[in-house]
């Protein structure tokens, strides 16, 4: 996109590493976007850092998405798009969870907007968000069985 999106990328990596060296397992720079891979256990704290650290100030959670990498393990890759309104900066936090234990901490306590975003990921992929105040389906009917956006769910649906 623009230079702006990447110019401050190092600030985020630096600050996160300074806070906790293990928070940054990988940094991916691709097409002007920065993705910071965070271990699953440190996600909530890293997200809190991103929001509260005065050098980062990522106050807007723009999006939560999941990519199903089936059959590669760890299977589910969660992507969190953050925006700092004041610093005009974007960053992506990423963490991965396995198929046997698709559980990750909920970020509702960090950004209230994570509520419906995480419900959608739960609804379509079956990821459990620990600590979510109201984790139930949002788009599909309540009695629906299965998680349609998983790669092993057929696009025509199941009868």
């Amino acid at each position: 996109m623009t230079q702006l999106a990447n110019a401050n990328a190092n600030v985020v990596v630096e600050q996160l590493k300074a806070w906790n060296a293990q928070a940054v397992s990988q940094v991916i720079g691709h097409r002007g976007e920065t993705t910071i891979v965070v271990p699953r256990e440190l996600l909530r704290m890293a997200a809190q850092q991103c929001r509260d650290n005065p050098a980062l100030k990522f106050n807007l959670l723009s999006d939560v998405t999941c990519v199903d990498r089936f059959p590669i393990e760890p299977r589910f890759e969660l992507n969190y798009q953050l925006v700092s309104l004041e610093r005009r900066d974007r960053v992506r936090l990423r963490t991965s969870v396995s198929a046997e234990h698709p559980v990750v901490d909920s970020l509702v306590a960090v950004w209230a907007g994570a509520n419906w975003l995480e419900r959608e990921v739960f609804d379509l992929f079956g990821i459990q968000f620990e600590g979510h105040p109201d984790l139930r389906r949002i788009l599909l009917p309540d009695g629906f069985e299965g998680y349609p956006l998983r790669r092993d769910f057929p696009v025509e649906g199941k009868r």
């Binding site: 976007e33 106050n59 309104l85 950004w111 907007g113 009917p141």
Partner: protein, 398 residues
Amino acid sequence: MTTVETPVGASKTMVLNMGPQHPSTHGVLRVLLELDGENVVSAVPDLGYLHTGIEKSCEDKTYSQAITLTDRIDYLNPLGNNLVYCLAVEKLLDLQVPKRAQYIRVMLVELQRISSHLVWLGTHALDMGAMSVMLYCFREREEILKIFERFTGQRMMTSFIRIGGLALQPPAGWREMVKRFLDMMPARIDEYESLLTENRIWQGRLKGVGYLSAETLINLSTTGPGLRAAGVAYDNRKAFPYSSYEEFDFNVPTRTESDCFARYLVRVAEMRESLKIVRQAMDKITDQGDFKADAPGIVPPEREKMKTEMEALIYHFKIFTEGFSPPPGEAFATVESPRGELGCFVASDGSPKPLRVHFRGPSFINLQALPDMVKGQLIADTVACIGTIDIVLGEVDR
């Protein structure tokens, strides 16, 4: 089953079901209202009545085929949806779009913004009882739809913005059509304002209704006119410019009251700003020039070339049968839709079909603020609040 639990003994409240079939929910939205008389104690939206699995369907199509699905997400902003998806795929491909195509994209997307705000204003006024405004807004919108039909062949589901540029050259006579619209429109917006802005009933219905602080809105991930009416001047066109917006001169209207009336004023001002942008774009677009990138294997060749040159024929065949494969990776593109930050996340695994396409729909995310907005207000205010958030159910549910 989505329900609202009323504690035993607390017989004061009643649960009223609003929707999914309701004239004022702007689509198939169901809201469960727990009422204490006329006052709303809590509102629980129940979504999914328009969920058609667009994101899943995109995974089964090639990158170019998926464009037709994107039109239908936010059906009042098809060109915007096309644009955000194409920007994301162009990012993945590292494909540069020629300036002229970017200017045409800007012009069309801004016309789309005006048409979307006209529908919003017309339906919002209708909900509040100002029924004639609806017909005036739709009359002007007809002119924009005629422009789109001339350009793209379609009034709504245009699929005109393609990967690498546009589908076609601008049609003959387009300048006169757009100029006629630009000359007519400012007076019409003045007309709407004369009917509404100073109107005591309009002000009475909207002032002080649906207030949320800027901090709450940011925390709830609200973007767009709702956030700008709270004083936060966040607009993707200025903050993270795309498609040559940095070359255009326009303002981002904001207010501070953060109520329904402020959001009305912001959207009307945005219509005027969009007219400015369309005029500038019209001046920048040259009569001759490229309307798409030169990228054989990704952007289809001109039809004449395809019929006479062997290479072009082969490229055409490959693009429309197998499709092209972007290198593995992910991209997240955002645009400023009439509703807020519209984003598209595309993940490629190196195959001709996307691994994952996800749309960050501002209607879905902004709707999250509804329960907080209506708490403690009257049922009539609920209708105002649903209208003021400006939702399109196609985008909420996908």
